[in-house]
């Protein structure tokens, strides 16, 4: 029993190590890109540092920290197993895709119609059954936004092809 739980812990540590190392490598690559771009921006002289000076040293610091995190993974943290458990995030990807579509349609459909559709989508994805309540909530959200933010606070929202 003890040996089994020990083995299980070793497996968990290995997963956490791997997660940390993937993050460290991504972060190291990112830091190298930052340093390259910083050199392009010009580091200039230390007596009069250029616009790339601080970003270069930040990139360097990130590279060093990535290497430290690669060598010494954080075994104290709660099991993350992010890459092993990617299926858990499938619904989240759908929501994120919905948000991206919302953003790209804002100028075409106009803010109010686009927001009405987004709210209906989010309410359905969040587990609302039927259409009566989601449509009502979406309509109320748009109505209150119009009154509060447009009429009261004079915030201009993007208008679509229908002029609203």
């Amino acid at each position: 029993m003890g040996r089994l739980s020990g083995q299980h812990r070793d497996e968990e540590d290995a997963i956490k190590n791997r997660d940390d190392r993937i993050v460290s490598v991504v972060s190291l690559v990112f830091s190298c890109l930052v340093m390259v771009e910083s050199v392009r921006l010009k580091l200039d002289d230390i007596r009069e540092p250029g616009p790339g000076f601080v970003p270069f040293f930040l990139g360097l610091a990130l590279a060093v920290l990535s290497i430290i995190a690669f060598i010494f993974p954080d075994l104290q943290k709660k099991a993350a197993a992010f890459w092993n458990d990617w299926r858990r995030g499938r619904g989240i990807i759908a929501i994120f895709a919905g948000l991206v579509v919302y953003l790209s349609l804002a100028r075409i459909l106009g803010f109010y119609i686009d927001t009405f559709l987004l709210m209906t989508f989010l309410l359905k994805v969040s587990g609302e059954r039927g259409y009566k309540r989601p449509l009502l909530v979406a309509l109320l959200t748009v109505g209150v936004t119009y009154l509060l933010f447009h009429k009261l606070l004079f915030i201009p929202f993007p208008k679509g092809f229908l002029g609203i």
């Binding site: 990130l62 619904g91 989010l122 909530v137």
Partner: protein
Amino acid sequence: MDILHGILTGFAVCLAPAKLLACFFGVLVGTAMGVLPGIGPAGAVALLIPLTFHMDAASAVIMIAGIYYGTQYGGSTTSILVNIPGEAASVITCMDGYQMTQKGRAGAALGISAFASFIAGTIGVIGLMVLSPPLAEFALKFGPPEIFALVFLAFTLVAFLSSGSMARSLMMVVLGLLLATVGQEAITAIPRFTFGSVDLQSGLDLVPLIMGLFGISEVLLSLEDLRRGEGAVTVRPTPRFWDLLPDRQDWKRSVGPIGRGSLLGFLIGLLPGGTGIIASFGSYAIEKRMSRHPERFGQGEIEGVAGPEAANNGAAQGAFIPLLTLGIPGNAVMALTLGALKIHGIVPGPFLIKEHPNVFWGVVASMYVGNVLLLALNLPLIGMWVRLLRIPKSILYPLIIFFCIIGTYSVNNSLFDVGALFFFGFLGYVLRRLNFDLAPLILGFILGPVLETSARQSLIMSGGMFDIFYSSTITIILLGLTAVVLGTAVYSEFRKGKVSKGLEALKREMEASGERE
């Protein structure tokens, strides 16, 4: 005499009907936002900042302050009654607060939480009153090297106090600093990391960053639980008003924790990066260590509610001092307050008290008024706050996403900011799933421009000589403290055996990959 005159002026300012209304609105809406999970104090302030554009500077800061401590209070209410912390600083209150509710002592827990917040708020206001004028005088001695050393200490402290390893926290600080470099550079106006985008020329905005990293990511994580059938809320009957008054025994046990928590919270709030979360966790640890029955903590000890609640509110008051005296925002809410003040043409710093006494003293006095309002308003309204949680989560979460969208859009009327909100929401979700602490990233982003400007100004002043960073007593003390914090962190990592464990794991993996080849 100056202080007395100042505070009387402050009361005259904040008791004017418009200011009183701003304060009332701030605490009321702040409490409601604090009750709802996912928005948090920074998100609540960001959401309501457009309202302050139509106010004068004093009313704007008074309302923001009201929202700030209103959210802290609202977060505690739901922690105690339904085991859901409305905001991160109230997480620790769940431990004993909810246990007290389960034992039928919800009234006492809510009551002591409200009174502890009130007392800590009062002590914080006195501290703010007494310490701000001399600190503002002292702040005049701060040049670029001193500011650089202070910001450097803040980063080290926040990384040290964060959860997880220090290297990971420092990675988040650096990422925040790098995000802050996006846009036109302050001295030469050369665009950096903009990739030709006009929208990025003015840099990334704080509001989408905060709302994305905290608000959207929180909702995404909660939706994961909801989709798996977890996260259902059981709302118990709320206590009656008279049940909220703690009895003599409760008071006797809570006096010490409230006093210690208030002081600790206030001192932590003074530090850049010192947040309510650190204060409340610190206070809980102290109370547990000082208790004769530490084993009872987590089972409904009133000390576990009184101390952290006081510390949480004390930190909220203390956080105003670095902003108002040094012009350095110590956390996200203070950064937003700084932004709101700048919109009204006011730059916080050592000269604020002299140049804008109405704003400074008005804000200080409003904090006291706000604390009284919180107590008078919230105890009778507890039932109403809890009813907010009865809104089905399948409706609540989409609404929170919408609040984040509208809050972000309305600051600059920019769809680009909404895109940035979604990007940071997804980034925050991934980072939180990977157990990264996001508070250091936010602090890095907020203080990034301060660090860069002070570092470059210092080097220009000294003609490229690094000895400018250890040429004054202030910088020596600040950098010495930084070295102590770093040394302590490295020592504790060695002591825990993490370093040797990490090296062993790496060696094993390299051997294994060698064998495979």
